[in-house]
Structures are given as C-alpha cells and as structure tokens.
Amino acid sequence: MRELSLHILDILENALEAGATLVNLDIEENSAANLLSFEISDNGRGMDAKTLEQVQDPFFTTRKTRRVGLGIPLLRAAAERCGGELEIQSQVSLGTRVHVTFELNNIDRAPLGDMFGTLMGFVVSSSNCDLVYHHQVDDRCFEFNTREIRGAIGERSLAEPCVRSWLRAFIAEGLSELYGKSQE
C-alpha cells in the first residue's frame, strides 16, 4: 500500500469486523527520536494464540481466518524495511492491540498520507463503534473522541449530512493545524 494511512484503515476495519465498540488510535511523529509509530487497540472479540499466529503468516491464512488475510504481513513488511517493527497482541474476548514503528526519515517509509480520508471513512461508517483518536506531531497534538461528539449532538449516528460536513471541517482543521498550516 502506498500510504501508512491505508494500512491504518485496514487495521481499523479489522477491529470493526471483530465486533469492537471502542477503538483507540494513537499516532506519534517524533523528529527528535526519528520515529513514526502508531498503535491501534480495540475491545473486539480478540484471537486465540493459534489464530494470532496465522494472521501473521501470509501463507497459512485459510478462508476461515481471512478476516485479516494479508493485512498484517503487508504492514509488518512495510515496518521492517524501514528499520521498524510490528507487534501484535490479542486476547480472546478482550481485544487486540497492534503497535507499529518506523524510522521517520527512512527513505523507504511510505508517507502517512490521507489521514483525513481514513478518519472520515471510518467514523462515518462505524455507527456501533467509537473512536478515540490521538495524533502527536512533535509538540503539537490533535485528538477527539467520537463518543463526546455523539453526546454533544444528542444523536447516535454521525452519518447525517450536516454532521458529516461538520466532521469534515473539524478533522481537516485539526490535521492541518497539526502540520502547522493554520491560517492564524
């Protein structure tokens, strides 16, 4: 995949398929430590040791376990060719945690890319799952919790057209300020 944000979307979708109602997504871009890392943890149904082993091996994935398929091996390969690593932990009925690191300035590191598209796509389509987002770029940070947003508007769904356009502006502004492109 050409962007890390596509890998992130892939893991988020796995969380949805695992029946998660809450997903935490933390992204950190740290120039001083030359590190880009992200962690996605969910409260879905989790995996037993055998399944966990299978999802990490592209050649032993069967149809039954295809809910992850190539996603994890592709992401691990992307991390390892950039001096980083992927760590995955899971416990049945408790959830799954995926932690991935990259050397920030590695020439082979794909760009984070369109996080806006990843966040909008996930938030709008996941009516039964909340997202807690925390994104740190050096000393700047952007964070939100969809549970708070749903609470403030008094509506479960974030898919109504006027909510969508508010979300679009909110996320676009948050991400652009993160990279110092604020108009102010």
Binding site: G117, I149, E155, E160, R164, E173
Partner: protein
Amino acid sequence: MPKVGSVADLQILREQLQKDFSRRTDTNTVITVGMGTCGIAAGARDTMQAILEELDKRDITAHVQTVGCIGMCSREPLVDIEQAGKPRISYGNITRDRVPQLIEEHLIKGQVVEEWVVGKLQRD
C-alpha cells in the same frame, strides 16, 4: 487545535439535526463499500469519499457502511446498493471517477448501470 469541548457549534448542529428530523425522509438506501485489504488496495477509500461527497452535493440521505472481503478481490472496489423493495445490486470496479454516474443513474434515475453489475440479490 479545534476542541470538541468548545461546544457552541455542536449545539448549533444539535438544533439543526432536530429541525431536519421533521423533514428528513428515510430513503431506505444502504450503500456498502468493500473495505477489506483488497478493497483498500484497489482504492475503496477514495470511492467512499467520492460517494459521501456526491450524496452531500445532491442532498441524498443514505446509510453508507463498509464490509470486509467477500472474495471477489479482482473486481474491487465493490459497491453494493440496496433500496427497500428492490434487489440488492453489487457493482464492481467502482473507482472514484465512476461514482457520480453511479449515483446519478441508480439513485436519481432509478436505473441499474448494467455494464458495471457483478451480482444481483433478489429480496423476498
């Protein structure tokens, strides 16, 4: 940094939602985008963005959801459209540029775009 906590605009949104509620018509339309690894690699995220933009532009209320791999990876991005009382139609290779025509033909004119169809599921 924008804060969810500064709730003034969310309050306005809440009022607008309540106002809209009376005039909102449920079109009973569900659009499903294949968002498995295969779909994502084929551009499903852009397809989803294009669908949301098109719905907003035309003020159409439809539920947009995602689904994992259904096994037809070579025809991704896959988009299903389901409307009350009509068969569920699966379209294949729906890249971003095809979305405006798909929405126009299927949702506005009520015509299935036969050349892109990969499957139909009749409802009882």
